[in-house]
Amino acid sequence: MKNAIEVQGLRKEFKSYSSRSGLKGAFRDLFSRNYKVLHAVNDISFSVKQGEMVGYIGENGAGKSTTIKMLTGILTPSAGEVMVNGMNPHKEREAFVQTIGVVFGQRSQLWWDIAVQESFRLLKKVYKVSDEEYDRHMGHVIQTLDIGPLLDKPVRKLSLGQRMRCELAAALIHNPPLLFLDEPTIGLDVLVKLKIRDFLKEINEKYNTTILLTTHDLTDIEALCDRVVMLDEGNIIYDGALQSLKETWGEGKEVQFQFMENVEITDLEKLTRDLPVKWELEEKEQRFIAYTTDEADAVSNLIGTVISSFQIKDVKIMEVSTEEIIRKIYEKGEV
């Protein structure tokens, strides 16, 4: 099958100038400026198959939004090939955007002071959607997202969660085969998040819609995406299944202890010096954290040894969370 997104050596450079300090510097800036070329996105390549749900993650400023903007035809790439839905986004912009839906979590697509259904009606005309198509498709969308009662309210009177659901519906008016979501769940409560996730899964199954999602909320990615693309300083540092990321990085177990008595971390280290353990102390709650290996008896040996010497208030055995993994990866800077 043809790929929905095909990116080859994509790069975006921003030229920015750094100003010199002081009044003298400002005068010198007038005549010669120090230009600095920033590589927001640095020769990245990847492809996304039709019907895939891909999580696109990275820290702030890693180049996520810049990539999305190039994929949606908003920005012109400095170099490289982009093919989305078989088209070159910025060259054939008007024909191209007909085949995509975009939701920017921090920016509204809807008209601020007209009723939601008026916005929908206008967008329906903009995207040249016929009445039958609209009724068939949007009836279902409106029902699933539960926005029927909101349709006659102006957008400015909606809560963030209500608005986000309407935004999502608005992005789907022309039933695009490809959907870009830039932080769609930012600032939303759990219930709305769940509803949006379920909805995205449903349209993905029903229409085989490709979804590219950026988010800071990794639970979104865990719930929706089989594949993640991870970005750091404009480079892709990981592209693959979320599961295998967990397997390679989620090594080791974490055991947290709280003691009845006062314990020094050196005592613990001395006590467990024969075991593969590393101790850390979280000072605020006097919680001692032991990092150990995955081996079958490592955890039981550790707990056994500690219990035999100290009075224990609480023990917790943790698995390393996705967030922890991501944090580790970023600290190391590579996969």
């Binding site: 921003f14 939004s65 949606t72 012109t76 910025h90 975009v102 007209i114 206008l122 005309k125």
Partner: protein, 261 residues
Amino acid sequence: MFYIRMLGQYMGQYLKTRLQYRSDLVVELVSDLLFQAVNLIFIIVVFGHTDFLNGWSRDEIIFIYGFFLVPFALFSSFFNIWDFNERYIVKGELDRILTRPIHSLFQIVLERMELESLFGAITGFVVMGYAGARLGLTINWYDPILFCVFVIGGALVYAGVFILIACISFWADARTSIMPMMYNIGNYGRYPVDIYNTVIRFVLTWILPFAFVGVYPAAFFLRREEWYIYSFLTPVIGVVFFTISVFVWNEGVKRYRGAGN
């Protein structure tokens, strides 16, 4: 065809929104009319003191002023791009525009139209009627047609210049104060250009051709034959400037850098 339909759709929506806020609408209507009335009084007071200006009679100058108001009203109803930099570039609203299948400039025209500015045209007609009656101007069968052509030409001149200025935002980050300055310069087009020195005249004709919004086309209806060439150049200059500006706009959009989140 699609674009005309969309214009209709947006206009309908605009009126609907306006009608929703009834009290707002009334206040605006009244204030608009008041504004126009003040404008009218201003014109009469200012021109009451001049009889002749470099061969132009008082009524002729008033007529030019009245004519100017019509293309200007058309321009300000549809090309509200004076805050383009803040609204679309700095706030990044252009992102949204660029994800929709309509030409970006046309979308901004649709979004930002302010149809109540068309009231200015009424003032223009009243002023022209007053001055025309005093001058004893006659109306030929072809005058209304040429009038429309000249008005559209003049509005296109205005639009072209202001689009070009808005395009600066694509290349330069800093805010510029060129917009308000340009509004001032635009006002010079409402007075006979031969009262200015040759440099200013040249600028107002070929570089910032605001003279084509007021004095040149109006001269035709005043039957000032020495200006006829310029009068008939009005639509040409309008189309040329507008085309250039759209071309520059398209180039600028490619350079759009987006706003950070």
